[in-house]
Every structure is written in structure tokens, then in C-alpha cells.
């Protein structure tokens, strides 16, 4: 009986994967695009369950707001502004079959290589051991020898900012460039300043009242996820996307004019720049202290190392703060939530105002 009990997670894992395959199939062949978006959201829910069963709560916390909350909302806005139905007349069956065959062959080859990378014995099930690098990270993430440790019980956040900080730095800059690109496409477009009746727009009073109660609670949860990022599952990315859900709620339930009262685009850009400056500060604060005191220090250094005896305190008054991890989580939270707030506000501007601007440029 106890063996059966141990099998339950694996059983749920395989059933969830099969169910996700069905929703992917429905999402791809559906002609009604709104329905396709909803099927893809169902698939994301199944994937979140898979992530949970694979014991990575950090990914669950970031994946549910992104793929179940934000991406379907964005795609529904885009579908509402463009074509509702997909026109599939004229796709010849032979082209379709040839491409499908090529895709199947490519996928089988890549899947075979993946299997090979896993084990020479063709055992798909993972072994009892993990790689040496991962074992090193797990052993040193909270260790009372500060020369090797990141002093954080949360090994994922420790890897994100301390062990592999340069990766995160450049990934943040990729996100910065994507948002700058979207801002460049939406230049000269502004939220129209017009008088409006709040009661006449958006959903019913029940939805509005529920949202008024929900939004502060979501914000509290988001800030809590971000500030406890070095202790519990969570961090700046997870808290940021959770807080960005409130912007989409305000736009959907009320209207873009109502949301623009709280989030001005220029203010959001300013707060985002403050967040990015905070990330740069978290990367260089040890170096600055080293310059000021004339000691040796490195960029992206958190705790003291053997030849650089300088570092941030890992605790203040008995509370673990893990050095620069707290600064990084707070700044990343600000940068992520404000970046997505800008994009949401720009995306939900009515199409008539946008067309006016574009025609003005052409003429």
C-alpha cells in the first residue's frame, strides 16, 4: 500500500502531461482565436502542475502569473484589436504533410539526442545523483564558512544573483531592450485625456467591487514574495509579475483611463529606471566600498572571499538578509512590475487614437 502511495505523484505527472497534449492540440487547430488563447491558458495550468510535481516552487510562482494571467490577457487584447477568426482556406494538404513530416523527423532526432545526453543506458528516469556543480551549490548555499557561501537558504535565488549573477544581469538587459523596442514602436501615442464616466465603462458593479478588494491583497502578496525571496520560494521576478497582474485587472475590469490614474507612463518609466539603478548598485556596491576603504573587491561580490576580505552583512539584528540579495530582489521587483505596466498601458490604448497618430505621421 505504501508503494502505491509513493506512485501517486508520478501517476498525476503522466496524466497531466497527456492532458496538456490534448489542450495543445485543441489550441493549435482551433479557428476561433479567443478559444485558442483559452486552450493555451488551460495548457499552461497543466504545465504549472507539472512544475509543482517536479519540486520547483519558484517556477510555479513565476509561471502562473505569466502564462495563465498576463499572456492570455495580452493576446485577448491583440485579438480584439485585429481578426477574430483564422482563415485556413488554401493550405494545401501536401505542403502541410511535408512540413509535418520534417517537423516530426527533427523532433525525433532532437529527442533522441536529449535521451543520449541523459544516460548512455537509455534510462529515461533520472538517476539518484545530480551533477557536481549542482551538488556544490546545494552544499554551500547556507554554510557557516562565509568564504564560499551565498548565505541564503534559498539556493535558486542564490544562483540567480550570487553564483550566476552575470547571466541575470544580461537577461535583465534583454528585457530592457524588448521594452525599449515596444516603446519605440508606440512613440507619440498617448493615453487620450478625455472626460469619462466611471460607472459607464468596464464590467458590472460586482466585478468592480471584488477587484477593489482583491487588488490590495494581490499587491501585499506580491511584495511579500519579493521581500522574502532569499528565504522562501520567490524573489524579484516572481513578485514583479504577480504585481503586474493588478494592472491588467484594472484595465480589464475598469478601463484604461481608470488604470492611467494610478500608473502614468512617464512615472512608470522613471520608477523602472530607479529599479535598474538599484540592480546596478547591487552589482557594484562591494566594489564601491572597496574603493572607498582602499581594499580589494570584485564586481558582483556578495560575501567576503579569500583575497577580497570585504562583503555585506548577511544578517541585521538576527534577521537574515543575505547581503546584496535583498537589494537585488527589491530592485528587480520594481523594474519588472513597472516595465509590464508600461507595456499594458500602451497595448490597451483605443485603436482610433493610434490610427490618428499613424496617419499624421504618413501625411
Amino acid at each position: 500500500m505504501s508503494e502505491l502511495y509513493e506512485l501517486i505523484p508520478y501517476l498525476v505527472l503522466s496524466i497531466t502531461a497527456l492532458a496538456s497534449t490534448i489542450s495543445v492540440y485543441l489550441a493549435i487547430i482551433e479557428k476561433d482565436l479567443i478559444k485558442a488563447v483559452l486552450y493555451s491558458a488551460i495548457q499552461s495550468t497543466f504545465y504549472a502542475l507539472i512544475f509543482y510535481l517536479l519540486m520547483v516552487p519558484d517556477i510555479v510562482l513565476v509561471y502562473i502569473p505569466v502564462s495563465v494571467g498576463l499572456l492570455p490577457a495580452i493576446l485577448i487584447i491583440a485579438v480584439k484589436k485585429t481578426e477574430k477568426y483564422e482563415d485556413v482556406t488554401g493550405i494545401s494538404k501536401t505542403t502541410s504533410t511535408i512540413i509535418l513530416t520534417l517537423v516530426v523527423i527533427f523532433t525525433l532526432i532532437s529527442g533522441y539526442l536529449l535521451l543520449l545526453s541523459h544516460a548512455i543506458t537509455f534510462a529515461i528516469f533520472p538517476s539518484t545523483d545530480i551533477r557536481t556543480l549542482a551538488r556544490w551549490f546545494l552544499n554551500t548555499t547556507l554554510w557557516w564558512n562565509r568564504m564560499f557561501s551565498a548565505m541564503s537558504p534559498e539556493s535558486v535565488t542564490a544562483i540567480v544573483w550570487d553564483y550566476r549573477g552575470l547571466d541575470t544581469y544580461f537577461e535583465t538587459s534583454v528585457m530592457y531592450l524588448a521594452i525599449i523596442g515596444a516603446l519605440a514602436l508606440a512613440r507619440y501615442i498617448e493615453i487620450p485625456k478625455k472626460m469619462f464616466k466611471e460607472e459607464a465603462m468596464g464590467m458590472s458593479i460586482i466585478g468592480k467591487m471584488a477587484t477593489r478588494i482583491m487588488v490590495p491583497m494581490i499587491l501585499i502578496v506580491a511584495v511579500s514574495i519579493a521581500l522574502h525571496g532569499h528565504l522562501t520560494p520567490g524573489g524579484g521576478f516572481q513578485g514583479g509579475v504577480t504585481a503586474a497582474v493588478t494592472v491588467s485587472l484594472l484595465i480589464f475590469i475598469f478601463s484604461v483611463y481608470f488604470a492611467a490614474r494610478f500608473f502614468k507612463i512617464n512615472t512608470a518609466i522613471l520608477l523602472r529606471i530607479i529599479g535598474l539603478i538599484g540592480i546596478i548598485l547591487a552589482a557594484t556596491i562591494t566594489l564601491i566600498i572597496g574603493f572607498l576603504t582602499g581594499q580589494q573587491a570584485y564586481i558582483f561580490q556578495n560575501q567576503p572571499k579569500v583575497i577580497a576580505q570585504i562583503g555585506l552583512p548577511y544578517e541585521i539584528g538576527g534577521n537574515l538578509i543575505s547581503g546584496t540579495l535583498l537589494i537585488f530582489n527589491t530592485s528587480e521587483f520594481l523594474a519588472v512590475v513597472m516595465g509590464f505596466a508600461i507595456l499594458f498601458l500602451l497595448l490597451s490604448i483605443p485603436e482610433e487614437n493610434v490610427m490618428e497618430v499613424i496617419r499624421g505621421e504618413v501625411e
Binding site: Y10, A17, L54, A134, P153, V156, A178, L185
Partner: protein
């Protein structure tokens, strides 16, 4: 005699592989740009699931999350933790990948909207025929 856990894990692997095939079909064949973006996001998510599957491990009775539950660990606790926790490197990479993926998807949606404003259609076959 094949272990039941290995069998169930293989089912998961193959199901995600089929997801990749279907989503690549959507990217290559379906004409609507928004449908292509949906398929692309499903493709990326399936790759994320694969990365996490690589980091999974076998432990009795079940592996634990890579987060310590005490903040003054003894050396026995650390060795026990390191022998049962899953690999923390793939979650750290996927974590940033999800958020940056969302920003890139938003940029693609902006491009698609701009295309619709200038061409009046999102059918990729008609856009190709128009030549700017």
C-alpha cells in the same frame, strides 16, 4: 521487469515531445500571426518543462525542494539536504527565461499590431504578397 515509475516518466517525456511537434506545426503552417505567437509560446514552455525534467532526481521517498527549512543548519542536515534536493540550476535559468520570454512575446504582439495597422490583415500569405 520495467519499473512503473520509469514507465510513467517516459509517458511524460513523450507527451511533452508531442507537444513540441504540434506547436512547431502551428508555427510553420498556420497563417495567422497571433496563432503563430500562441504556438511559439507553447513551444518555449515545453522546452522549459524539458529543462526542469533534466534536473529531476530519484530519491526515497520523493525528492525535496532545493530550499533549506532551517537557517542554522548542522552538517548532517546539509549532507542530507544535498542528497535529496532536486537540481537548483535549471530552475534558476528557467526563472529568468519565463519573464524575458513574456517581454519578448509582448514585443512580438506590438509588431503584429503594427503590421495590422499598416497592412489591414494578419494573414501571413497576404502580407508576403503585398511587398511593403
Amino acid at each position: 521487469m520495467i519499473d512503473v515509475r520509469t514507465y510513467l516518466f517516459t509517458v511524460t517525456y513523450v507527451a511533452i515531445l508531442v507537444n513540441i511537434v504540434i506547436s512547431l506545426y502551428g508555427v510553420f503552417v498556420r497563417p495567422n500571426v497571433i496563432k503563430k505567437i500562441i504556438a511559439l509560446s507553447i513551444f518555449g514552455d515545453s522546452i522549459y518543462v524539458y529543462s526542469i525534467l533534466i534536473g529531476f532526481r530519484k530519491a526515497e521517498p520523493y525528492p525535496v525542494i532545493p530550499i533549506m527549512t532551517t537557517w542554522q543548519p548542522s552538517s548532517e542536515y546539509i549532507s542530507q539536504f544535498a542528497s535529496t534536493a532536486v537540481d537548483p540550476v535549471p530552475p534558476a535559468l528557467v526563472l529568468t527565461g519565463v519573464v524575458i520570454g513574456l517581454a519578448v512575446m509582448l514585443f512580438l504582439v506590438f509588431l503584429a499590431l503594427q503590421t495590422y495597422r499598416l497592412f489591414g490583415t494578419l494573414d501571413i500569405r497576404k502580407i508576403v504578397r503585398m511587398r511593403g
